[in-house]
Subunit: 409 residues, 4 copies
């Protein structure tokens, strides 16, 4: 399968100057990390969280490996060891540091990694200038890979936010960042009753149709038949979720998937992540410190298990990813990633690309659930209705929320 035919690098070049976009995206990564100390940049509390300094280096390694080495004549790597240190999971590119050891590699340090970024940025500026004045061989392929690298970096921008929050969230001092780094959703509508949208039975077109960038897992526009359904226009709020908790839901096995029930028992879970109960009052850790729970905000940092149990308690269910995509134009979305009840599986026309790029998406299509939408931690320009995010059902460190749906009978 090829990228959507509508997708054209010419469009892309018109829409935005690649060199400028490169600078902007790269600078935003450094903005996210700007309040971090070298110590903050090094921690890896659990295997799934990477040290911020690793994200800074790995996103840079991507450009060095896939752009500069193959395309820029005479390019010399910043350091030959970095290929080993900052590869993530590309089996085709050889051995790498085991994921759980990333936090133990203290050198190179933050300052040297920032130098690495500058070095690669300078070389990329040369490459993009050559592409602009047509002096680069295979410049169309290079520009496509550059766009992929920037999209990849934007994915890591959101991971940086969630990983930083995880690191600070377990610190008993509850560190506080400046307001510029709050990464909080706005308020949800308060009137739950009024907010269901009816969708008609019928065939819907699903998948990316361009123009612009998209990932291979979105490609292959195709038809899905949907039975009539209703979908909430707003996300579930903290106030609503508290009712569920106060009804004893975390102790009522009948509401939960079997695996979810085992998961809350094993992990002793009784509330969303980052919630703290003190003197009978709930507060939550945010990147600007510990705050009293705001009941009007959408509930966030919940697992699929919790989202599913909440929906069941309300006599409803989560939407499928197809229902979500079909209805998206009528929904307010973008505050939180929304769990769907669709497993992350290939579309009918999906075919895994050859080579290292083919390891980007396809090989993760098992035992993960799709999230749709985007969140307050998603960088601007990195969301679209067809975007398929995916995580295992127990994931809570992402900015996740709940939207209800039900089949009309």
């Amino acid at each position: 399968m090829e990228a959507p035919t509508e997708y054209s690098i010419a469009d892309l070049a018109q829409a935005i100057n690649p060199a400028e976009k490169f600078r902007e995206v790269r600078a935003y990564t450094e903005f996210i990390c700007s309040p971090l100390t070298p110590e903050d940049s090094t921690a890896q509390p659990v295997t799934e969280v990477s040290p911020p300094k690793w994200h800074l280096a790995h996103s840079t390694w991507f450009f060095e490996t896939f752009l500069l080495l193959p395309f820029l004549p005479g390019y010399s790597v910043f350091s030959p060891d970095f290929a080993f240190l900052f590869n993530s999971y590309y089996e085709t590119l050889g051995p790498r540091v085991p994921r759980e050891m990333r936090g133990s590699i203290t050198r190179p340090g933050l300052a040297e990694i920032l130098q690495y970024r500058t070095y690669v940025n300078n070389a990329m500026a040369v490459l993009l200038e050559m592409a602009a004045d047509n002096s680069l061989e295979n410049s169309e392929e290079a520009l496509k890979l550059c766009e992929l690298g920037l999209q990849h970096e934007q994915q890591h921008q959101e991971l940086l936010v969630t990983d930083i929050k995880y690191i600070f969230g377990l610190n008993p001092l509850y560190p506080s960042l400046p307001a510029s780094h709050a990464f909080m959703p706005g308020h949800a509508a308060k009137d739950f009753e009024a907010s269901f949208i009816t969708m008609e039975e019928g065939l819907y077109e699903i998948g990316f149709a361009g123009p612009g960038f998209s990932f291979d897992n979105e490609w292959g526009r195709h038809r899905q038949y949907l039975h009539a359904y209703e979908i909430a226009s707003e996300l579930v709020t903290n106030a609503e979720y508290l009712q569920f908790m106060q009804a004893g839901a975390y102790n009522d096995a009948s509401l939960w998937l079997a695996e979810g029930w085992d998961w809350i028992q094993k992990n002793k879970i009784q509330a969303p992540m980052y919630w703290h109960l003190s003197e009978n009052k709930w507060s939550t850790y945010t990147l600007t410190g510990l705050k009293a729970l705001d009941l009007t905000l959408p509930v966030m940092h919940i697992s699929l298990y919790e989202a599913d149990a909440y929906a069941r308690w309300r006599g409803m269910r989560l939407p499928t990813e197809f229902e979500w995509e079909a209805a998206n134009a009528k929904l307010a979305w973008g505050q939180l990633w929304e769990w769907t009840n669709s497993a992350y599986l290939p579309y009918p026309f999906y075919r895994k690309p050859a080579g290292a790029v083919g390891e980007y998406n396809g090989k993760f299509m098992i035992n993960q659930m799709v999230m749709r939408g985007a969140s307050c931690a998603t960088p601007a320009g990195h969301s679209r209705p067809e975007y398929r995010n995916f995580f295992p059902p127990g994931t809570r460190r992402q900015y996740t929320g709940i939207r209800l749906a039900q089949t009309i009978i």
Copy 2:
């Protein structure tokens, strides 16, 4: 959601005399276990495998708990402890022996459990006679539950076969059962090239439409739109799978789902389950002993990871469960359960039933993949095209096989 409207207990009663069916199904369980010693009936080598004697008791406990106690006036339980000992996973029915400890409960022994079966069978005979001459209250509900209990027992009949094979398969003596207990598939067609069936693009009806019994996960007939595809008429053979192995597939990361690659590394897997290499020749353990590998048989006892990698190596994919159901009338099926690339999730009209019966299916709808068809270990009368079997992707002890498919572009 209710059972399909076409499903009627009157049909059922006409089709077969309930008392007779009860006797037949129950007797077949004992036939499966007839070559087992008391020692064989007690082992539980891994948590997922239950001791045969536990299956014998648990399927009996079902009738005592859901039929005899609520419906038969004056019924007195065989032993008050058995409710605790032989409950499986019904949270609504109170505490139970942890699953991994089933093999440690040596008493009651096999003989006492066979007495338990006789005791319950006798009481069920009374109940079914009362139902037949209309002297039982709520007899329609009772007959429906009896049918559910028999279907449940048939599911355990197949688990008995797979668990017995697992127990014997790890014994270095390779125990051999009589030919009556071989549970082997017949030969596959040998001509691979000729065997693809073309299916047209369009809307298909999916789900059970009766008459007869079905599980709640099959209910709610609904429409699925399928793009045009091809599906193999025969299963992949041992000969074909050996080519995949000889091509080095178990050492080529690019063919595997990331999770599958980790799984073969961690478990040091280099061949299907029960295969043994000795002096450069493959043999397989069967219930009638260790045999030279028959190249013409369908490959079996493979995980979804292996099925998926094999399909990728052939440039194809596994069918979805919807593609399978739509095409089933044109397929030779029933030798092995066929992995589909569909996650086990609810149909659009699915609604979890209330009470303990509601724990039967719905709560397992996460992180499992659907198998379709039936196998040589499936009891007669317990298969239909709409049947949704499901297991985690690493499961190999079931009688699983591979059918290829591909989208037509």
Copy 3:
């Protein structure tokens, strides 16, 4: 190092007829197992517990491997597979079934293993007869190995009792054996105050000095200097231990070794093994069923951690194994194995014997603590003051008890 010079096979032969002793010891193993069903004989609830049927076979395998094959001309093994199935830990004798899988080997069954015992017993009778009339080559070595095999079997006799108790102890039905199989200690003295014995400072001789059998870990009689100490003449009772529990000892970290404190947290331990609290009354599981706690009995089935914490709470300590041995003639001992605060390490003259027999003791001399004495489950004739039993400090399934000591200052 050689066996003590006083140890002479002639003495042994005088003291008892080897063939008669062989019959008696072997018959006693079968007596212990006589109330077991085939199912009871198969269970292995945790790795450390072996199925009773494995003990029956392994102790037989010892005679076949070390006596019959090397010494009896023309001996033919019962089954060539048994060497693999019933080896325990002798690395020099090749591969073996992993310990944790012993419970999964259902065949050979109990009846076949009893046949194996008979077969080997018959061959041993021939061998011992030949030894008696001097027609056996190397008969002195054979008789020594036979004695070792019987001592080995007696060790397994006690393990059979503890393993059977473990298997029944986790069964919610609390199976009850006949009174002949109670294996319970008699009553302890009730007057705690009067029971301390004073031992003088000085040099003491430690280690086995014969005549009779002993293990290599007891050999090499040597001197130990002991400072003056007191040692209790009686074991700690259930009544006394209850005071410790009622004083909140299980929740007071200051009384525990750090590792012991972690162990009780992790395993949620609040009482000795086999104790059950119901309606505010303690009962204990015994091999004749669940009984009200007898306060006058010595406390048993406790870990070294618990014994050590109890002693600390009393302002005392456990004796060392040398203090115990020096004082043993003045003590009432033999009801329970007594934890000492000595690590299991070699005596100064210890040297590991060559070959498989050298794997008997020496290689376990790390991270285990010495128990001295004997218990109500120890077979008659298998105890002596110099006997060094050893287990990891968290062991509770053995018949363990507490004796207090303190240095005189």
Copy 4:
């Protein structure tokens, strides 16, 4: 038990000015850490290794908690959160950060912790000045605790060296520190044959007899009877250890303790820690980088299992801690900690001190083995012949070596 009667604070005060010693010891800790970046100071690759910044803070917390708060009138803590963050294992002092999470606490950072050190140093200077001019209440107790705090800090100085080496040792870049931070042993004697010292049978006095500081685990001087033995005057060299490796020792079960054999299998160990084989040549990681193996140096970074197996292969054994102490005046020691074959257990007169100080040593007296001597990483002034160091037998990150011994028969 009290401290040795010879131990007098007056001696201590004469020998050294407490304020000066305080400054020197504290400054040396900072010297060790001087080449570290903030990132280096934060890593915790395994639970047993603490981040260097944690050591810097914890050793400071000790003075704040045990000296400044109880003794210095009007002292105000640097930060109220630090008691929670930097407590190590004192259960009496309340909850604390789980050990394995120390590396995840990125704030306070290195700079703030150095401020904390300065703040506490300044307050301690005031306290020690008051003690010197007799204006401090309970000054004798305070000076004793100050001495304990410095000894404690010196223990952490050695841990800093081993933990820094561990962190750098796993970095594929093999970071190199300046020569001032090499922490390497000098050369061993090369002539193995000439180096055995004979010790006579008899009573020896064991334990600390002052003057000067010692830990409670050394107190209670007492008698040990030793049989005649020989002990090597020098440590085993890399050349000698290579012979052991080349003889196939890592693949010969008969040389190993059973637990050691399992440990090398499980951890795939084939050489001492920090050894790397490349193109058939051995090199070792040192704090000044990767170096070719120096055959004349003593072998180091080996577990007790390896030390024990090496000794067995040579037909000898490790000395006991009593043999070591009795012979120490005749030995060259101090390059490496020397594994003894003594378990870490209390001396006859040992009694655990009350309160938090009592948690210093006694509660670790189980499943650990004693090391004697000192190493090139031990700070000057922190070694004495009676010193009892202790670690679990699998420990390799300490600077450990092998000295042989044997009983004379």
